[in-house]
């Protein structure tokens, strides 16, 4: 044991540095900033701006982003696309949550309807887009429908599971105090199911974002889809990459927002 003491000390020093980097706020920040810097530098070096249609450098992509923002086309496109996302997500929640509750409470509804949603989760929805397009045309409604198809099953399934997992003794307790069905639903079942429903909402948002991009690229409207198509036609790789990264970053922001909300609403479920 004594003989390897110096080696252990060196090891301990390495451990202490690692602990400093991983267990303190500033250490983590430094580590993450370094990682981001390395990624950006690698991107800059991997990029090649000499010929069109090559992977663009970080700086040129950022330039393209500034230009698109400055001439207002990207903000406008995002605004139009965002409307479809908003409408789609509202429908996903508005229909998905009640449907999930019905599935959890009525076995017949469960047996009849659930397989369709299991199916929607497993299947590449994009394959159905031509059908939506054939039925609804190149319309706002068609794009919203695609978004709903992408996301709704996640809310339905998670809401149903959440409602089913409500502890029966809580329902029994409410019944013993004379609560009627509606009171049990609103006072016990729904609040208890909120964490699960929020998880479903977050997953659905992730899928709805994919659906939004798919809708934009296939059922081209006035949103970012047409912007991408136009930039693609003019071989502006950096600009297309800038649009793509903007979508991804906005998507991540929205997802973090929902995740924060999820955590706020779930505080009680974490204490026990």
């Amino acid at each position: 044991m004594k003989s390897n003491a110096p080696a252990r000390q060196a090891g301990a020093r390495g451990h202490r540095l690692a602990a400093l980097l991983t267990d303190t706020f500033w250490g983590r920040l430094t580590l993450r900033a370094t990682a981001l810097a390395i990624v950006l530098i690698a991107w800059q070096m991997a990029g090649d701006d000499s010929v069109a249609l090559l992977f663009p450098t970080a700086t040129r992509t950022f330039q393209a982003f500034i230009e698109l923002m400055a001439d207002g086309r990207l903000p406008l496109g995002l605004l139009v696309t965002g409307q479809a996302l908003l409408a789609g997500f509202a429908i996903i929640i508005g229909i998905g949550v009640p449907l999930g509750i019905l599935i959890a409470r009525f076995p017949l509804v469960d047996r009849t309807v659930s397989p369709y949603f299991t199916f929607l989760v497993a299947v590449p929805i994009i394959a159905i887009v031509p059908v939506v397009q054939a039925l609804l045309g190149l319309t706002f409604a068609a794009r919203v429908t695609v978004i709903v198809l992408f996301g709704i099953s996640y809310v339905v399934i998670n809401s149903a599971i959440a409602v089913r997992r409500v502890k029966p003794e809580l329902i029994e307790m409410a019944a013993s105090f004379g609560a009627r069905r509606l009171a049990i639903l609103t006072q016990v079942v729904l609040p208890a199911a909120v964490p699960g429903i929020m998880t479903g909402a977050r997953l659905a948002l992730g899928q709805a974002l994919i659906g939004m991009v798919v809708a934009e690229l296939t059922i081209v409207g006035a949103g970012v889809g047409s912007l991408i198509a136009e930039l693609q036609g003019r071989f502006k790789v950096a600009a297309v990459l800038a649009v793509a990264m903007t979508i991804v970053l906005i998507g991540l922001c929205l997802l973090s927002l929902v995740e924060m909300l999820e955590r706020r609403l779930n505080r009680w479920s974490l204490t026990k």
Partner: protein, 255 residues
Amino acid sequence: MSGLLRQAGQWLNPPFLISLAMLAIVWEFAGRSADILTLPPLSAVLAAFVRLWSSGVLTAPLLDSTIALLTGLAISLFVGSAVGIAIGLSRVADVALGPFIKAGLSAPMIAFVPVFMMIFGIGSETRIATVIAFSIFVVATNAATAVRSTDPALLEMARSFGAGRWRILGEIRLPAGAPYFLAGLRLGVARGIKGLINGEVLIAIMGMGGLVKKYGTVFSMDQLYAVILLIVLYAAIWVGAVTLLGRLVLTERRK
């Protein structure tokens, strides 16, 4: 096996089958009476499916798609597992790379497909890149969990026998994490297939997705629906096969 039976039970229950039959009947009659352009009757779709299948038109795209899928998945599994294991073993790697993995897991990576198309051209590389973008993060996440979730008592036991870091990884962490690796594989395949079809439809020329676009744009609806049916079956068979494989491996291990 009971899980398998339960899964079959979800599909083979009377209320669902009745509703499915009713949908099929409504579809058939709506297809016959209404505008044939957008909604061909079910029988026509099934006939088109049989016709396309036996004519061999589907074979080449199917093979083509499968090769692209397998290539992409292989890369995802290899690189994703390596990165995931590193993250699972090292706190530093976790803090540095974790946020990227988490972002990639939930971000709409499909937005990059137009970029892939411009850089790689409308060939296999684009599809493979899409498959990777869709599947690699879930593989990495599960690999990290697999390595991390080892029972501390087992680790202590191995250490007390003098096993080193790498022995512990090979003898304890990797085997103990097998269920998570399998989950990663299953989710990776499920997502990879979505990536493949997404890529193909957006590229609009290749494989099964190419057929969707081809029949969709000429409004050859019965053939379009037949191809959609093929894609659905294709995805279901892959996911089912990987799920089954996972179950078999786990029950074999338990014996």
